[in-house]
């Protein structure tokens, strides 16, 4: 484990050196990332000029909702920074046979495929997320207690683990399909479901969708659970949600590992 941590530190340092070599590009990447996020925030602000809350009686008024959005930014920025850049490269590695070079390394293939590149500019959104949470928390009806502040980072890690499992399964799909340029699109569209409070998925279609996105592909737990830990009193049902997120995170990691290994077993090199 310590060997892998040391290797990851080396990867991260190399990426940071590379980013700092092209500082203007790094700043531009941060700015474009922040621009995209600001546009979404502008949209939410526009929505709140028309309504006091998202969903009648849901409790997602402006401050809790922006705590939710901030939490989402934190979780997504961690995944975008640590895992997505490597996973995005995989599609070309499979198509061109570059994956062969990974498989002959004396290291775990999943580790190399998912963590060899770190995109530091993606942390910019996470910092804004922290800022949003800091803005929203004093405006919440129920101020989070010390236990909530302890559980909050844990549930954020659960969210990251669930998304990591998803990234690995998409990577496995890339290996099986030979090419999967839609990987990033698929990721974007699927994580889109986690961008809003679970309460919006109501009614004859919303109920089953909410169940699927909670228990089958637990994407709704990624942001909803940590955001609830902050925005709602941590009692009763909230503990069940925390437990479910923990279970889902463990299951996601285990299942994705199994799927990735099965996909690798079927990998046929494209190189000559």
């Amino acid at each position: 484990m310590s060997r892998y941590l040391a290797i990851f530190r080396t990867f991260a340092r190399a990426c940071l050196v590379r980013d700092m070599t092209f500082r203007a590009n790094f700043l531009l990447e941060c700015l474009t990332s922040l621009g995209w996020m600001s546009m979404n925030l502008a949209f939410y602000l526009l929505v709140f000029t028309f309504t006091p809350e998202i969903g009648a009686g849901s409790g997602w008024t402006k401050a809790p909702f922006f705590a939710f959005v901030g939490t989402g930014l934190i979780v997504n920025s961690i995944v975008q920074a640590l895992f997505m850049p490597s996973a995005e490269e995989l599609t070309e590695m499979v198509r061109t046979g570059g994956l062969d070079a990974v498989l002959v390394q004396p290291l775990d293939a999943q580790f190399l495929v998912s963590m060899h590149r770190v995109d530091f500019s993606s942390f910019a959104n996470g910092l804004v997320g922290v800022g949003l949470v800091a803005w929203a928390v004093p405006r919440l009806e129920h101020a989070p207690g010390p236990i909530a502040w302890l559980v909050y980072p844990l549930t954020i890690l659960c969210g990251v683990a669930i998304l990591y499992g998803l990234v690995i399964m998409l990577a496995a799909a890339t290996i099986l399909m030979g090419r999967n340029q839609s990987l990033y699109d698929f990721w974007f569209y699927l994580t889109n479901f986690s961008r809003y409070p679970a309460e919006i998925y109501a009614g004859p279609w919303g109920g089953p969708l909410r169940a699927v996105c909670t228990f089958v592909i637990p994407i709704l737990l990624v942001v909803n659970v940590p955001a609830r830990v902050l925005a709602r009193p941590l009692a009763g049902e909230a503990w069940w949600a925390v437990g479910t997120a923990l279970l889902a995170a463990c299951a996601s990691l285990a299942l994705s590992r199994a799927v990735f290994q099965a996909a690798l077993a079927r990998y046929r090199s494209a190189s000559s």
Partner: protein
């Protein structure tokens, strides 16, 4: 030995006209691009199906917004109108979005592969247009099934169909949206002749495009936001920019949000932008290739 004279001079009487020859080349390019698009069918099918997912969250989000407000409509849009609007923008974006076009042009400038278009008698912009038409044709052939299914499933959200002239304007606006999207992105890609890496510029463009095209919300919702100029809202300003014609305009036409003289003014603005961007694209190609230098084999 009976002698038959052989001449190297082309017979001007049987040579196909230039227009016909050009059309034949264009059709060949289209056929090649169609075949290329169909090589990775699994990837393509997955990508097409996935595009319907964001609309689902938008429908639930706006349903939740309307459930929490006492308003019957927002900026003239009822809940059903908003749902119909998002579905229609999906359709308009299927015409106007050009994934990978600008980045692809910039890449071929950077890696030198564009030089083959400088020595072959093939017009680069014409080739790109053929490739994009092929891309769209394959996309529509695959997407027509999910599109039809979704529109049929959500038919209750739509108002009664508009009259025939409005449908014609709607169809014209879709074709113009395709051309506008193509020429805007191709022009952006041509910037690769001047700056090696255009990805940040493209990202900035996508950002503005996403916000101001009406992809996120109907532009009418910006009517209450002042610009600082007396009597001019952000929505008024956006009507004169090209972005709204790639998503908002066709959808608004179908839903009857733009009618009468305003409809023809907007259509004229759209035609104007298509002409401006086509000329800009051609000018960028002309000037760019004059300063382009390629080295090596």
């Amino acid at each position: 030995m009976s002698g038959r004279s052989v001449t190297l001079e082309p017979d001007r009487h049987v040579a196909p006209p230039r227009l016909l020859e050009g059309l034949r080349v264009w059709c060949t390019m289209l056929a090649i691009c169609l075949e290329e698009r169909l090589v990775y069918r699994g990837d393509f099918l997955l990508g097409t199906a996935m595009r319907f997912l964001p609309i689902v969250t938008q429908i639930f989000l706006w349903t939740a917004v309307f459930s929490a407000t006492s308003r019957a409509d927002i900026a003239g849009y009822t809940r059903d109108d908003v749902v119909a609007y998002y579905l229609l923008t999906m359709l308009t974006r299927a015409f106007s979005s050009m994934p990978g076009l600008a980045g692809g042009i910039a890449r071929s400038i950077r890696d030198g592969s564009i030089k083959k278009f400088l020595v072959q008698p093939v017009d680069f912009i014409g080739f790109l247009l053929a490739a994009r038409v092929a891309h769209k044709l394959v996309y529509y052939a695959v997407a027509i099934v999910p599109f039809a299914a979704v529109f049929l499933l959500c038919r209750g959200y739509f108002p009664p169909p508009p009259d025939a002239p409005t449908v014609l304007v709607f169809l014209a606006s879709l074709v113009l949206a395709f051309l506008l999207g193509f020429f805007m992105e191709a022009t952006l890609g041509m910037l690769g002749f001047w700056v090696l890496e255009v990805s940040s510029i493209v990202f900035g463009y996508m950002l503005v495009q996403y916000l101001l095209s009406g992809h996120m919300f109907p532009i009418d919702m910006l009517a209450g936001i002042p610009t600082g100029m007396p009597g001019v809202s952000v929505a008024d300003l956006v009507q004169w920019l090209p972005f709204g014609y790639t998503a908002y305009f066709p959808a608004a036409v179908w839903l009857g949000k733009i009618e009468g003289q305003e409809l023809f003014r907007a259509l004229a603005v759209e035609v104007g932008w298509v002409v401006v961007m086509a000329l800009a694209c051609r000018a960028a190609w002309h000037r760019g290739t004059r300063r382009y230098g390629a080295f090596g084999g």
